[in-house]
C-alpha cells in the first residue's frame, strides 16, 4: 500500500501543473512505472482513486501506466544490461528494492564484472511522462 504515497504525489503534481491555467479537462496523464521498483499497478490505481478530488477535472481512466524496463550501466566496466525478472534476488531483497529502489545497489551487481557501482539509466520508479490538457476556449 505504500504505492498510495506515490499515487498521492502524482495527483498533487497534476493539481499543481493545472492550477494557474484555465483548464477545461485533463485528458491524459501518462505515468512511467519503472520495472526496478515494480509497483503494484492495481494498488497504485486504487491510490489514484483515493486521492482524486473534485478540484482537478481528471478522470481515473485518463491515467495511463506504462512499464519501463530497468536498464543499468556499470560505472566500472561500461557494461549495460536490463534487469532480468528472474534475477536471482530473494523475495526479501526484491521487497527492499520495491520500497527503496536504491537498495538495488546492496543486492545487484554488474553481470560482467560484479561491481555494485552502476547507474540506473531508466526504469527506476514512478515519473510523469506527460500531462495532456484541454484549456477552456479550445
Amino acid at each position: 500500500m505504500h504505492e498510495w504515497a506515490l499515487a498521492e504525489s502524482v495527483i498533487e503534481t497534476v493539481k499543481r501543473e493545472t492550477e494557474n491555467r484555465d483548464v477545461k479537462s485533463v485528458d491524459r496523464v501518462i505515468i512511467s512505472c519503472g520495472a526496478l521498483q515494480n509497483i503494484d499497478e492495481e494498488i497504485f490505481r486504487t491510490g489514484l482513486e483515493e486521492y482524486l478530488t473534485g478540484d482537478v477535472p481528471v478522470k481515473l481512466e485518463s491515467f495511463l501506466l506504462e512499464t519501463v524496463p530497468a536498464e543499468f550501466s556499470c560505472n566500472r566496466c561500461g557494461n549495460r544490461w536490463v534487469l532480468d525478472p528472474s534475477s536471482g534476488l530473494t523475495e526479501e531483497e526484491l521487497e527492499g528494492i520495491h520500497f527503496l529502489p536504491e537498495a538495488a545497489h546492496s543486492f545487484l551487481s554488474c553481470p560482467e564484472c560484479g561491481s555494485p557501482d552502476f547507474t540506473v539509466l531508466e526504469g527506476r520508479g514512478i515519473s510523469i511522462k506527460s500531462i495532456e490538457i484541454t484549456e477552456k476556449g479550445e
Binding site: 500500500m1 505504500h2 498510495w4 504515497a5 506515490l6 498521492e8 504525489s9 502524482v10 498533487e12 503534481t13 499543481r16 501543473e17 512511467s32 560505472n75 521487497e95 527492499g96 528494492i97 520500497f99 527503496l100 529502489p101 536504491e102 537498495a103 545497489h105 546492496s106 543486492f107 555494485p116 557501482d117 547507474t119 540506473v120 527506476r124 520508479g125 514512478i126 515519473s127 510523469i128 511522462k129 500531462i131
Partner: protein, 244 residues
Amino acid sequence: MLDPRLNILEKRFAGVKRVLVILSGKGGVGKSSCSSAAALLLAERGFQTGLLDLDFQGASDHLFLGVSPAFPEEEGGILPLQTAFGLKFMSISCFTGEHGVPIRGGAVTDALIELFAVTIWGALDVLVIDMPPGIGDEVLDILRFIPDSEMVLVTTSSSVSESVTGRLAYFLDSQHVPVRGVIINMDGPVKGGGKTGGTALSQYPVLARIPFLPGWEREIGDPELIKKGGFAAHMQDVLRELGF
C-alpha cells in the same frame, strides 16, 4: 519527465513542528550518539518525536536504539517503526539490513527524496535527523527540502575536527542557515587549541561539553540504560539549550 515525489514533500513535513539536523564535518565524532540519545530523551519526556537516519552508507541509529530493522507497515505510505518510548524511527537499514549501501551522488538524492515522499510521519513535535559527515548531497538536499531546519553541529575538541567542521559552519552561514550551537563530544585536555588555533567554531554557542565516557558503549542498544546514563545527562543540557 516530471518527478511527482517533489510535490508531496511539503505535505509530508507539514505536521512536523521542529526539525533538528545533527551534523559535522568529520565522522566518528558522535553524531549518531547525540541524535539517538536526544530523540530517545525527547520521546521519553512526552514529545511526539521522530528519528531519521540519513547516513545511508553508515546507518547506525538502529544499533543505538536496539532495533532490528524490519520492513515498515504500510498505510497510505510507509509508517516509521515504533520504538522505545513511542519514538518513531526510519532508516535505510529497514530495507537493506546489514548490507553495505554503495551509492553515488544522484542515487543518494533519489533515495532521500523517496524516503521523504513515502514516509508518513504524521504530527511530530520534533524530527531529529542524523546526518552523514561532510557537506555532501544530504546536506544540500536538507537545505533544499527542509529549509527551516535547525542545525546542531557536533565536533570533538581536536583541532582537526574543529577545523573541518568549521568549514561546514562557514558554508551554512554563507547560505544564511542558522547554527543553533555546537556539541563538543569526547572533550579532552586540549580545549580547542592546537595548530589551527581552535577558533573555527568559537562564534557559536556551546550546547554541551561531553567528556569521553567509557560507560557509553555499554548503554548502546538499551534505551532504558541510555536514558539513565551519563551521556543522556549531558544531552539533557543540550535539549534545554535548544528550548525543550
